[in-house]
Symmetry: C2
Subunit: 271 residues, 2 copies
Amino acid sequence: MIGASLARDFKRLGLAEAVAGFGRSKERLMQVVKEGVLDDWAVEPEPICAGADLVVLATPVETFVTLARDVAPFLMPGALVIDVGSLKGAVVADVEALMPEGVHFVGCHPIAGSERSGAYASRAGLFEHARCMITPTERTDPGALARAEALWTALGCRVERMDAYEHDRVFGLVSHFAHMAAYAIVTTVGEADAGALRFPGAGFRDTTRIALSDPTLWSHICIMNRENLADALGRCMDVFGRMKDALEAGDSSQLEQIFERAVEFKRTSER
Amino acid sequence: MIGASLARDFKRLGLAEAVAGFGRSKERLMQVVKEGVLDDWAVEPEPICAGADLVVLATPVETFVTLARDVAPFLMPGALVIDVGSLKGAVVADVEALMPEGVHFVGCHPIAGSERSGAYASRAGLFEHARCMITPTERTDPGALARAEALWTALGCRVERMDAYEHDRVFGLVSHFAHMAAYAIVTTVGEADAGALRFPGAGFRDTTRIALSDPTLWSHICIMNRENLADALGRCMDVFGRMKDALEAGDSSQLEQIFERAVEFKRTSER
């Protein structure tokens, strides 16, 4: 979804002379070529990466290191390599270390997307008004960083820099943990009474929308960020414990205080 | 919100000759009268209930029993009394027992609304395509039940009957528990790192939308339904525990299985 949406915007905004893609599925690649999203395609990296000014890693994040190793021999000196993954930390360090002389990598994470996956879910304008996190390291080339930031800005993003490990802690909370919580909420209801799932109100629908997200993709992300996530789950169990204590004590004002504090946190987030 | 939205629809759809409201706040009542939502208002029940064919209890659910006691002396024989509360069980039994001879009560719960409260958040058409749960008891008058169902149908609802205690168990899961979970998610993130709240993606925003809901209203609902909710919180802590185990074991396929099952439950809910 992210890769094909980028391709659509590169063409729509005239940001590239040509856009080519490589991936595993010939059928899916041919489909997006037919739609005019890609000019060329291949199932091998060489014909696509040789001569490319910009190479975007847009596969699932757990494949980036292998992918970087596969494309590295074909990268042109001066090429900029970016990714669009939702994990940074060790991934950025590992990919960076694999880049050949004269090729620069910049870790990028556009905060765009939905519970859907794949090129069929792609669309032009996906990145407009989105935030894009950029995670430079001590080794990041200043020119490459400026080019990456200019690119995302041209796509309509608000660019923000953050340390790669700090990024994984922050997005572990607001994104990865939120996905685990949504999965946990539907599981709780389903296990308690699958019949109750027939009665979703607007609240339940919104709260669990991302519980439709791809389990393979998200299990890999969560495992890769497992320390931050185990911490978040433990914290949430603690909050639930406090709520349960208030319920069991029949203490409405205690529960109200817990809820009030939550509303304050949520308002902070909406500002 | 529910009361004033009903008033708007009663007028818009010509379902009532006149619509009058009583409540505590003179200012808020005068405001809705000025907007043409109500024809008349009072801060006492007598002038509003005397002569009313239909009386709707649309205050917070914890006030229904007191409210029913207050309005009972003024109800006209043949009047239909309904409520719009999100808890049924004991409330329905208690209100029913307070109705004078010839006055019939039918418990109703339209699944409509949002995280907002109050007449300012009301709108015409709120109930269109919504589900309305009706919870008749052994004592419910068949004619009154038919009138209540015809009313909600005229407002655009799909009416469904359910036992009052079963209702509280089901909506304890899909509504009340979902609210507690949303409050818990923002609290978890806020306690771990309030700064992370600055980076909400679309997923976090949707998952925690209802964490803006009125803490007073929801603490009362949750306390009134505390047994079902303590059970749901315990179950969710158990699900979190299984997720945490998979994370700590670094077991991606175990986590994927948990997520897959969640997606299946969620799909059931979307059908």
